[in-house]
């Protein structure tokens, strides 16, 4: 474990703005988002976790596009295009999810997911 971390640090120090750094950041974002989704009991917290996961994906698309040569090799702007679409989709998803939560609050008076369990498991 320690050895792995040290090796990662070496790679980071050799090239602090390289592909590797960004991939580690996005992987961390992804894992943190996933943990938030699983551990949070408040629906808003879960929603924030989902946004983190989406941001990890967007970051990945941008980074891969950049380090594959950027505009020089890909004039169709595939990575940024995907990123922009994902930002819009994340906004749509947040809007829908907040509407659902608002309706939930009207019905149950809470957005704690543990107290909303009418159906048998």
């Amino acid at each position: 474990m320690t050895e792995t971390i040290l090796r990662q640090l070496d790679v980071f120090l050799a090239d602090p703005t390289g592909l590797h750094t960004y991939l580690v950041v996005s992987a961390l974002l992804f894992v943190l988002g996933l943990i938030a989704c699983m551990a949070r009991r408040n629906a808003i917290g879960i929603l924030i976790g989902i946004e983190l996961i989406l941001n990890a994906a967007i970051l990945n698309f941008m980074v891969f596009w950049h380090f594959r040569g950027g505009q020089a090799t890909d004039s169709t702007l595939a990575g940024p295009m995907m990123g922009i679409f994902l930002i819009v989709l994340a906004a749509c998803e947040a809007a829908i999810a907040l509407a659902v939560l608002l309706n939930l609050y009207f019905n149950f008076g809470t957005v704690e997911v543990d107290s909303i369990r009418r159906m048998k498991r």
């Binding site: 996961i53 990890a56 595939a78 159906m119």
Partner: protein, 504 residues
């Protein structure tokens, strides 16, 4: 770009164009008519419009070679696209029949309901005909976002609100995980074209153990998103709660159209796998992965369905089990496997809608979807019971129904693959295929028990007090629309002709 060039681009997407116009029209119409006419007016307009779109899907399915003309090659016109467009639009038309029949959504403006269904189908159509990750993701999310709202359509019902919460959270996580997988997909291959990406992914395995690990991780992450849509174990958690909590017409829509679109997406991602000659790709263990998923999914669905007391919940587990049967088709890398999957999906549409139609009518009259409430209703609604019975034995896979033909094709496919492997000397793989077929047959036997539980309650059990049950002409006509094809498609040649026609 000149106007005529734009017109040429739109030639391949006439059905989608009709749907887009229809969404605006239905919202506009809903503003003009009074609330009590809202259901009939919007429902009929949407039904007519979807039928028109269906007609266009037959008349102008887009020809292979037109790809370069349609949205910069983002839309493709292969057999998967052509077939699934027809399937999804058929499902959408049927959904509007459900809307016109069901009393659950009365009291709400129906224009919204129609627009949401149409939006979901529009997204699904683009999803199954996309050859570009951007369009793929946008299509999938359009389908998902509309489904989230539909599940919570009865906004004053607690069950419906809970269903939409669970759907939006599970769905959001699943699609987020899938997008993260797709980002690596793009990173490793450097292209957004799905066909090129998928080929590269399936060939990554030649790049040594680390590449193999990367490919497996990507496939797993992507399966989280698509497996969620088709309710495959272990991504099935949402299914029973949403099916139970959502209004019944929405449940039927999710069971058929949303699941169908999920299979379309999976086939789209794995399309190189089913191409005629891809011996190098089979080394990626796709058959073993999907075989295991299929067995786990169908066994789980069938075993849990046994002890359900609510018909909608039972049908949810049944739909999980059917995802398992369909996944059997993904274990064989041959064009004939694709045919078996498509045929089963076509049959699945009719038998599932048939079962849900009867449930909708029963819920209208009885106000409950528990099996206990259905007791003794067969005598009062014999025609509906007969239709339900046909659909249930078709879901089980007993002759003389189309479900039998569908399961026969899938199992024959798997056994055939086993015999081929045996001849090629790969004994473990051959044994695996025979095990898959055996598991499928055993599961069908298990499913007979819980399907017949519904029938038994309706025929033999006595109801307590008077049940306000009966059937009118519309109930019978709708049941016949779904049950008759379920019987008639045992003669499966026309459907196979249709599937081959989409291949052209």
């Amino acid at each position: 770009m000149t106007f005529s060039e734009i017109l040429v681009q739109l030639r391949g997407v006439y059905p989608e164009l009709v749907l887009s116009i229809l969404i605006c029209a239905v919202i506009g119409l809903d503003m003009l008519v009074p609330l009590r006419l809202s259901r009939v007016a919007c429902g009929l307009l949407s039904l007519a419009g979807t039928s028109l779109a269906l007609l266009f899907a037959f008349v102008e399915p887009g020809r292979p070679g037109m790809e370069a003309l349609t949205f910069g090659a983002a839309v493709t016109h292969d057999r998967i696209a052509a077939f699934f467009r027809i399937l999804l639009l058929l499902g959408a038309s049927a959904s509007f029949l459900f809307l016109l029949r069901s009393d659950e959504t009365v009291g709400y403006r129906q224009g919204e309901y129609c627009a949401l269904i149409l939006g979901a189908v529009l997204g699904a159509c683009f999803l199954v005909s996309s050859d570009n990750l951007v369009l793929f993701v946008v299509g999938l999310e359009t389908l998902s976002l509309c489904s989230y709202v539909l599940a919570g359509f009865l906004k004053h019902e607690r069950l419906s609100a809970e269903a939409s919460l669970k759907y939006v959270i599970y769905g959001g996580v699943a699609s987020g995980v899938m997008l993260f997988g797709l980002s690596y997909f793009y990173g490793l291959t450097g292209t957004l074209s799905i066909e090129a990406c998928a080929r590269a992914l399936l060939a990554l395995d030649a790049g040594g153990p680390s590449m193999r690990l990367a490919a497996a991780m990507i496939l797993l992450l992507i399966l989280a998103g698509v497996g969620f849509k088709i309710a495959m174990v272990p991504f099935h958690f949402w299914c029973p709660d949403i099916y139970q909590g959502a209004p019944t017409p929405v449940t039927a829509f999710l069971a058929v159209v949303s699941k169908g679109a999920g299979f379309g997406a999976l086939l789209r991602l794995l399309s190189p796998f089913f191409a005629a000659s891809t011996p190098a790709l089979t080394t990626f263990d796709v058959p073993v992965l999907f075989g295991c998923l299929a067995v786990v999914t169908m066994t789980f669905g069938n075993l849990v369905a046994i002890r359900q007391g609510d018909v909608k919940r039972l049908l949810a587990y049944s739909s999980i089990a059917h995802a398992g049967y369909l996944l059997l088709g993904f274990t064989v890398a041959a064009p004939v496997a694709l045919e078996a999957i498509l045929f089963y999906l076509f049959v699945y549409l009719f038998m599932t809608f048939g079962a849900f139609w009867v449930v909708v009518v029963l819920v209208n009259r009885l106000g409950s979807s528990s099996i206990d409430a259905f007791r003794g209703t067969a005598a009062k609604a014999p025609f509906l019971f007969a239709a339900l019975f046909v659909c249930l034995i078709s879901l089980t896979g007993i002759p003389p129904t189309a479900g039998f033909a569908g399961k026969f094709m899938l199992f024959k496919l798997v056994v055939g693959a086993g015999i081929d492997q045996m001849a090629a000397g790969a004994r473990p793989l051959a044994a695996f295929y025979f095990f898959l077929a055996l598991a499928g047959v055993l599961n069908s036997a298990i499913s007979l028990y819980y399907y017949m539980r519904i029938a038994r309650a309706m025929v033999f059990d006595k109801s307590e007090g008077e049940t306000p049950m009966g059937e009118d002409f519309f109930d019978r006509a709708g049941a016949a629309v779904f049950a008759l094809p379920t019987l008639a498609l045992l003669y499966f040649t026309p459907v196979l002709d249709l599937i081959r026609w989409t291949a052209r």
